[in-house]
C-alpha cells in the first residue's frame, strides 16, 4: 500500500433490506491521520455504513477496500462486554483471543487510559455506564488497529472522559492510523473531526472538510449556531430530494 493510499475506502456502497434501500450509494476513503465524523439524523444509515466498513455486514452493491480485519478496531454503539466478567477480564479475554502481540504491556496501557482504578476488577454490571463505555472503547483499541470505527462512542461519557477518549484516539492518528465515528452531537464533531460525512436518509449529502461543510450549511448566518444550521441543512437536503 503506497503512502497516500487510503487505509480503508468504499465505492458505490449500498445496503438494502428486502426492497428497502437503507444506505447508498456512498463513496468514502480514510487516509492516515484522518478524523472523520459521520453526522446524520436518526435512521440516516450511520451504523449501517460503519458495519459495512468493518466487515460485520455484507453490502448489497459496491465494494470496500479494507486492511486485514485485525487492523480495524470497532466500538459498537451498545456495550459489547460480558457483564459478569470484570473490566480487566474482558480486556484480557479479547486481547488473548485477538492474539495481541504484547498483551501485558498493551493491557497496562489501556487500563491506565480507561482510568478505572479499583473498578477495573469489578464486574462490568457493577460499573457506571460511563465506566463500562470506556472499557468498551478500550477493547476496540486492542491490538493498536490502524483504522478505528466508533458508533456514538461518547453517548454515556461525562465531559472529562470524553476528552480522555479523544486523547486515546489521537494516538491512533499519531501511529499513522485513522478513525471514523458516528455521532448525533454536532459540537463533538466540530471538536474531534477534521472531515465530515453527512448522511440523510441513507444518502451522502456532504463529504469533505469540516470547515467547508459548515460554510455550506450556513452556520455563520444561522441563529443558534451549528446545530440549527445542521438541522436546516438536513431539511433542505430532504426537500431537494
Amino acid at each position: 500500500m503506497s503512502a497516500d493510499a487510503p487505509l480503508i475506502a468504499c465505492a458505490g456502497l449500498t445496503k438494502r433490506f428486502g426492497r428497502r434501500q437503507v444506505l447508498g450509494p456512498v463513496d468514502l476513503a480514510l487516509h492516515a491521520g484522518d478524523r472523520l465524523a459521520l453526522l446524520g439524523p436518526n435512521g440516516a444509515g450511520k451504523t449501517t455504513l460503519l458495519s459495512l466498513l468493518a466487515g460485520s455486514a455484507e453490502p448489497s452493491e459496491g465494494s470496500v477496500q479494507r486492511p486485514d480485519l485485525r487492523e480495524i478496531g470497532v466500538v459498537p454503539q451498545r456495550l459489547a462486554l460480558y457483564r459478569r466478567l470484570s473490566a480487566r477480564e474482558n480486556l484480557e479475554l479479547f486481547a488473548r483471543l485477538a492474539r495481541v502481540p504484547e498483551p501485558e504491556a498493551e493491557l497496562a496501557e489501556l487500563a491506565a487510559a480507561v482510568a478505572l482504578g479499583d473498578a477495573l476488577d469489578r464486574p462490568v454490571e457493577r460499573l457506571s455506564l460511563g465506566q463500562a463505555q470506556r472499557v468498551n472503547v478500550a477493547i476496540g483499541l486492542l491490538g493498536r488497529p490502524r483504522v478505528v470505527l466508533l458508533d456514538e462512542p461518547t453517548a454515556a461519557l461525562d465531559p472529562g472522559h470524553r476528552l480522555a477518549l479523544w486523547s486515546m484516539l489521537e494516538r491512533v492518528n499519531e501511529r499513522g492510523g485513522a478513525f471514523a465515528f458516528a455521532t448525533q452531537n454536532v459540537e463533538e464533531a466540530r471538536l474531534a473531526a477534521d472531515r465530515v460525512l453527512v448522511l440523510v436518509d441513507g444518502r451522502a449529502a456532504y463529504a469533505g472538510p469540516q470547515e467547508a461543510f459548515w460554510q455550506e450549511a450556513g452556520a455563520a448566518d444561522a441563529a443558534g449556531g451549528h446545530e440549527r444550521a445542521f438541522v436546516a441543512f438536513v431539511e433542505r437536503t430532504r426537500s431537494a430530494a
Binding site: 459498537p76 459489547a80 466478567l85 479479547f94 483471543l97 492474539r99
Partner: protein, 448 residues
C-alpha cells in the same frame, strides 16, 4: 492458551458466577435424586393385590381328618403384598382402574377339589401390564408354593402318624372312622410274653421267634420310611434370607430415564442459552473479529455442554446411588465411571441441538421457550416403546434421547456393559456432529 480454551474458561467462569443458574444446576439433581429415591424406595413397599376368596375358605381348613391354617398362609403373603379382600366384579373393576396391580382368585370348589386328591385345584392370577407384573407373579407363585407346601406337610404329618401308630400302636382316623391299632412293638412284646410261657423245647418257639424278628425288622423299616417320607416331601430345603440386591427392572429404567431427561433439559437449554447470551451481551461480532470463528464458537459451546452434562450426570448418578442405598436396593457404585463417556456424548448431542436453537432464535427468552418446546416431544417420543409404535422408535433413533437411555442403562446394569455403552455413545457423538453441522448452518444464516 488456545482460543478454544479461552472461550471455554470464560463460559465456565460465567456459569460459576451466574448464581441462579448454578443454584438450578445443583438443586435440580438433588431434587431429582430425591424423586428417584422415592421411586426406588417405593419398590420396597407393598403393592395392592385384590384377593378373591370365591370358595369362602375359612381361616382353618379341614381336609378329611386333617386341618391346616389357611389364614396364616394368607397373612404370610400379606407381608409382601397388601392383600385386599374383594368380590370378583369389584376386583376386576379395581384392576381396570389401577387401584390394584393384580387379582388372585381362589375359585369356587377349591377345597372340594383339593380334598378329592384326584385333580389339582388352580389359583388364578389376573394382572395388567405394569411395572409390578413380574413381582406379583413371583409373589403369587410363592403363595401357591406355600399353600402346596402346607397341604403337603399336613398329609405327611398325617401319614407319619399312621406309621407311628403302626409301630407303636394307638388310635388313627381315616375316611371318617376311628381305628385302634395294637402296633408292632406291642405285638412283639405279646409274642415274647407268650414265648416265655412255652417249654424250652417247644417247636412253636422257633416260629414265634421268626414273627418277633419280623416285628423288629418292620418297626425299624417303618421308622426309616417315616424319615424317607419327610425327606421326599422336602427334597431340598429352602432357607430364605433377605438380600440387598438391586431390583433390576424398575431401578434401571428409572435411573436411565432420570439421567437422560435431566441431561436433555439442562444441556439443550444450556446450549441454546450460552449461544444466545453472546448475542444478548452484544459480543458476537467482537468475538468473530477476534478470531473466534463460528465453527470454533459452536464447538466450544458443545464442549461446554458435554462438560456440564458429565458433571451433572455424575452428581445425579451419585444421588441415585445414595437413594438406592437408603432404599436398600443397592447402588452400582463400580459402574459409575462407565457413565462418563455416555454422559459427555449425551451432553454434546443435546448441546448441539441447543446451539441450533440458539443460532436460530433472537434472544434468551425465545431460545428458552423454543428449547423447552423442542425437548419435551423429544423426551416423550423417546419414552414410547417400539412395540407400541415402531415409527416413534425409529424417529427416536435420530434424536439423542433414546440412544442416551440405552447407553446409560447398559453402563449401569448390563452384564457386559462396554460394547452397548460405547455403541450408544458413538451414536450420540454422530448425532452431536450432525446437529453441530446443522447449528453451524443456522448460525451462518441467522446469527451474524
Amino acid at each position: 492458551m488456545s482460543r478454544f480454551a479461552l472461550l471455554l474458561r470464560k463460559d465456565l467462569l460465567l456459569l460459576a458466577r451466574s448464581r441462579p443458574l448454578l443454584a438450578v444446576l445443583i438443586v435440580y439433581p438433588l431434587v431429582l435424586s430425591l424423586l428417584v429415591g422415592g421411586l426406588l424406595g417405593g419398590q420396597g413397599g407393598r403393592p395392592r393385590v385384590a384377593f378373591v376368596n370365591e370358595d369362602d375358605i375359612p381361616n382353618v381348613v379341614h381336609i378329611g381328618d386333617r386341618s391346616f391354617d389357611f389364614g396364616r398362609i394368607v397373612r404370610q403373603a400379606g407381608k409382601r403384598v397388601e392383600l385386599v379382600n374383594l368380590t370378583l366384579p369389584r376386583a376386576r373393576r379395581a384392576l381396570d382402574d389401577g387401584d390394584v396391580v393384580a387379582v388372585i382368585i381362589v375359585p369356587r370348589g377349591f377345597i372340594a377339589e383339593l380334598s378329592s386328591l384326584i385333580a389339582s385345584p388352580e389359583v388364578e392370577l389376573l394382572t395388567n401390564r405394569n411395572a409390578y407384573e413380574e413381582r406379583i407373579l413371583r409373589e403369587t407363585q410363592a403363595f401357591v408354593y406355600t399353600l402346596n407346601s402346607e397341604v403337603q406337610t399336613e398329609y405327611i404329618r398325617s401319614n407319619s402318624h399312621f406309621l407311628d401308630v403302626l409301630v407303636s400302636g394307638g388310635t388313627a382316623r381315616a375316611l371318617g372312622r376311628t381305628y385302634h391299632v395294637l402296633g408292632l412293638d406291642a405285638t412283639r412284646k405279646r409274642i415274647q410274653a407268650v414265648e416265655a410261657g412255652l417249654p424250652s423245647d417247644s417247636p412253636a418257639r422257633a416260629q414265634l421267634d421268626s414273627v418277633t424278628a419280623f416285628a423288629v425288622q418292620a418297626s425299624a423299616a417303618l421308622g426309616l420310611a417315616h424319615q424317607a417320607l419327610a425327606a421326599t416331601a422336602h427334597p431340598i430345603g429352602l432357607v430364605q434370607r433377605s438380600t440387598r440386591g438391586r431390583s433390576y427392572l424398575l431401578g434401571s429404567q428409572v435411573q436411565s430415564y432420570g439421567l437422560a431427561i435431566s441431561l436433555a433439559f439442562v444441556t439443550l437449554l444450556l446450549g441454546a442459552a450460552v449461544l444466545t447470551l453472546e448475542r444478548d451481551e452484544n459480543v458476537l461480532a467482537r468475538l468473530l473479529r477476534s478470531g473466534a470463528g463460528p465453527a470454533l464458537l459452536l464447538a466450544e459451546k458443545i464442549a461446554l455442554c458435554a462438560i456440564v452434562g458429565c458433571v451433572l450426570g455424575l452428581l445425579l448418578a451419585l444421588g441415585f446411588g445414595v437413594a438406592a442405598e437408603i432404599s436398600s436396593s443397592g447402588a452400582a457404585w463400580a459402574r459409575i465411571p462407565l457413565l462418563l463417556v455416555p454422559l459427555a456424548a449425551t451432553g454434546a448431542a443435546f448441546g448441539a441441538l441447543g446451539c441450533a436453537v440458539g443460532a436460530a432464535t433472537r434472544d434468551l427468552r425465545a431460545s428458552s421457550l423454543v428449547g423447552v418446546a423442542l425437548v419435551t416431544p423429544i423426551v416423550l417420543v423417546g419414552l414410547v416403546p417400539r412395540q407400541v409404535s415402531p415409527l416413534a422408535a425409529d424417529i427416536s433413533e435420530l434424536l439423542p434421547f433414546a440412544p442416551a437411555t440405552r447407553a446409560f442403562g447398559a453402563a449401569l446394569f448390563d452384564a457386559a456393559p462396554l460394547s452397548t455403552a460405547l455403541a450408544g455413545s458413538g451414536h450420540l457423538l454422530w448425532l452431536a456432529a450432525a446437529l453441530g453441522a446443522a447449528s453451524l448452518g443456522l448460525f451462518r444464516r441467522f446469527a451474524r
